[in-house]
């Protein structure tokens, strides 16, 4: 009996370690490969261990041909924007739904909640058309005909998605978990709502707000579908995921290699992919508890 138990346990550990290795291999492979030059890489395609740290792939990423800086700035602008506004909205709306009582409150909440049931694609097509046909901008006449509206311009990357119902939900749940006494005490002392929110609630909302910030960061950093739809023709406003995807397979031409050296420059692709994935990974490693809390929060309270 004991031997069978032990065998089962060993098998489980093999599965765990084997599975974990399988999960890690693509990332290890990419990290290793990014430091290889062509010789090292093609000599041992099963695991490209570089003989010497070859930093050219990374150096090239910071040359003007790779517009890394532009994508970074564009994405950071979006991140700051999409943390601030949905954040403020969530804190305020969460308070309204959790702490205020008035007729129509629950109806309004249900109204907002109904959007969580729909897949994103249902909003995207009409929103795209709406942005493209916005009267008066981008060459459109007052009927919205003729030009390209906000498409391929900055506003289309900033206008949609400012009200995020998931975060309103999250903040509302967080307010519920805070006893009423704090606010009551402040109000007895004469605080108005603004002061109550700022001085009483905000410090207590820090964990929830942190979760919101990191999830938004990851979401906007990796956001591909929407930028693809609205900015594919304007390289000046490319964001991280879009810019990287478009450049991943172009290593050979960026490095100025002679024709026929390599169709796809894998070490370059790996270097770019690794570099660009680092911020979210590092963020996670530093703030793991918040990620777990956030993932759980949406599950248990959702």
């Amino acid at each position: 009996m004991h031997t069978r138990l032990r065998f089962g346990r060993v098998l489980m550990y093999v599965l765990l370690i084997g599975g974990s290795i399988a999960m890690a291999i693509p990332m290890i492979y990419a990290a290793l490969g990014s430091f290889c030059n062509f010789e090292d890489f093609y000599r041992a395609p099963w695991m490209p261990i570089p003989q010497r740290l070859y930093l050219e792939n990374y150096r090239v990423l910071f040359t003007p041909k790779v517009e890394l800086w532009r994508w970074t700035i564009n994405t950071l602008i979006r991140i700051v924007w999409y943390i601030t506004i949905p954040g403020v909205v969530a804190v305020l709306a969460g308070y309204v739904f959790a702490r205020l009582r008035f007729r129509g409150r629950d109806g309004a909440f249900m109204f907002l909640l109904s959007s969580m049931m729909m897949p994103g694609i249902v909003f995207w097509i009409p929103t795209y058309i709406m942005l493209a046909r916005w009267p008066g901008v981008g060459g459109n006449n007052w009927l919205g005909q003729g030009g390209h509206g906000f498409i391929n311009e900055w506003p289309s990357l900033l206008i949609p998605g400012l009200v995020n119902v998931y975060y309103i939900f999250l903040l509302r749940q967080t307010y519920y978990s805070i006893p009423l006494d704090f606010e009551e005490a402040a109000r007895v002392d004469g605080a108005n709502t603004l002061r109550v929110l700022w001085d009483v609630y905000l410090p207590m909302l820090k964990p929830a707000i942190t979760v919101m910030i990191i999830f938004q960061f990851v979401a906007i950093w990796n956001d591909y579908q929407w930028p693809l739809i609205v900015s594919a023709s304007n390289t000046k406003i490319f964001t991280m995921a879009l810019g990287v995807q478009r450049t991943l397979l172009l290593g050979a031409s960026i490095k100025g290699l002679p024709q026929g050296t390599a169709i796809v420059d894998y070490p370059f692709a790996f270097a770019l992919a690794t570099l660009v994935s680092l911020p979210t990974i590092l963020l996670f490693l530093r703030l793991q508890e918040y990620f777990v809390e956030g993932v759980q929060g949406f599950a248990l309270k959702g």
């Binding site: 309204v96 205020l100 694609i121 249902v122 058309i129 591909y224 995921a241 793991q288 777990v292």
Partner: protein, 314 residues
């Protein structure tokens, strides 16, 4: 909560002789504050959610290119198109991918979470390892994955060459392309459920297992009769969100297979994207979006009904 903090904190209600408007303001201050904050939010939301959803429904009954001219009403013609050409195949693919990815991903995540829940050294490291792929950009990793399977200069074929085997043109095989999409999606998506299951498992008190062991239960019994029933809500949540997620795979197909050899890996979201933004057939794309939304809504509500029925039994 029966009384809000504002209501509890009333120290001095306004004197009955205060002017009418100030009194009305005080009495309705919660509503005033509430609507002050909610109105812009609801307006924005109506413009960017309600209006698009209704428009999408409308557009699905028209033929329009979204660029010039007005939409032309064609009734259910777009929906009829979804019964012809390669659309049934596309819908089949979407469903097939969703179910396979969901089943394998959820079982694997559950298994790994159970394993990690034992006293394992370095649990945090393992959890990080499993979750990190979820944090990467789908576009980036899918593009790199494509590089792996690329027929003539891909890494996989390089491996085969090194081993002296003939190269395989993976991209021409529907079977291998589907496998590739499935494996990639599982790799990318398994981390979330692992974290969720692990968190749920850690919420189960040890004493329950100890009591069961005293009663002579074996590990397998404990798993079947304690763990899984207790985890039922989380399992259902993972299934619902997993289904919604794997129904909407996009980058994997766009960048790895472009719909695969003759639409064999084409999925609805990719087709809708192509219809709308490549072929500018907004009506057809909108119809596809409506079909997707209906399917997903149906799936979510069925699952939620299952969940509440399960709770009622338990």
């Amino acid at each position: 909560m029966s009384a809000t903090a504002q209501e509890r904190a009333i120290v001095t209600p306004p004197h009955p002789q205060i002017g009418g408007f100030a009194r009305w303001r005080f009495r309705h201050r919660q509503a005033i504050e509430g609507w002050l904050i909610l109105t812009p939010i609801l307006l924005y939301y109506s413009l960017f959610f309600l209006f698009p959803v209704l428009s999408n429904l409308y557009i699905s009954f028209t033929r329009w290119n979204g660029i010039q001219g007005a939409p032309k009403w064609v009734g259910i013609a777009n929906y009829r198109t979804y019964l012809t050409q390669s659309y049934p195949l596309i819908m089949f693919n979407t469903l097939m991918f969703a179910l396979i990815i969901l089943a394998v991903q959820t079982s694997l995540a559950f298994l790994i979470a159970v394993l990690l829940n034992q006293k394992v050294v370095g649990r945090g490291l393992y959890r990080a390892l499993w979750y990190i792929p979820t944090l990467t950009s789908a576009a980036v990793t899918a593009q790199v994955a494509f590089a792996f399977i690329s027929p003539f200069d891909g890494v996989l074929n390089g491996l085969l060459k090194a081993l002296g085997q003939p190269i395989v043109i993976w991209t021409m095989s529907a079977f291998w392309m589907r496998i590739a999409v499935i494996i990639y999606s599982i790799w990318r998506g398994v981390g979330g459920p692992v974290v969720l299951f692990l968190a749920a498992l850690q919420g189960i008190h040890r004493e329950i297992y100890e009591a069961a062991m005293v009663d002579g239960a074996r590990e397998r019994d404990m798993l079947l009769y304690i763990t899984i029933p207790l985890l039922r809500p989380m399992i259902l949540f993972v299934l619902v969100t997993g289904m919604i997620g794997s129904f909407q795979i996009f980058e994997a197909v766009l960048l790895m297979t472009k719909g695969g050899p003759s639409n064999m890996t084409n999925v609805m979201l990719l087709q809708i994207y192509n219809d709308a933004f490549v072929n500018t057939n907004m009506g057809l794309a909108a119809a596809g979006a409506v079909i997707m939304a209906v399917l997903l809504l149906w799936f979510s509500t069925t699952n939620m009904r299952l969940m509440s029925r399960g709770q009622a039994e338990a």
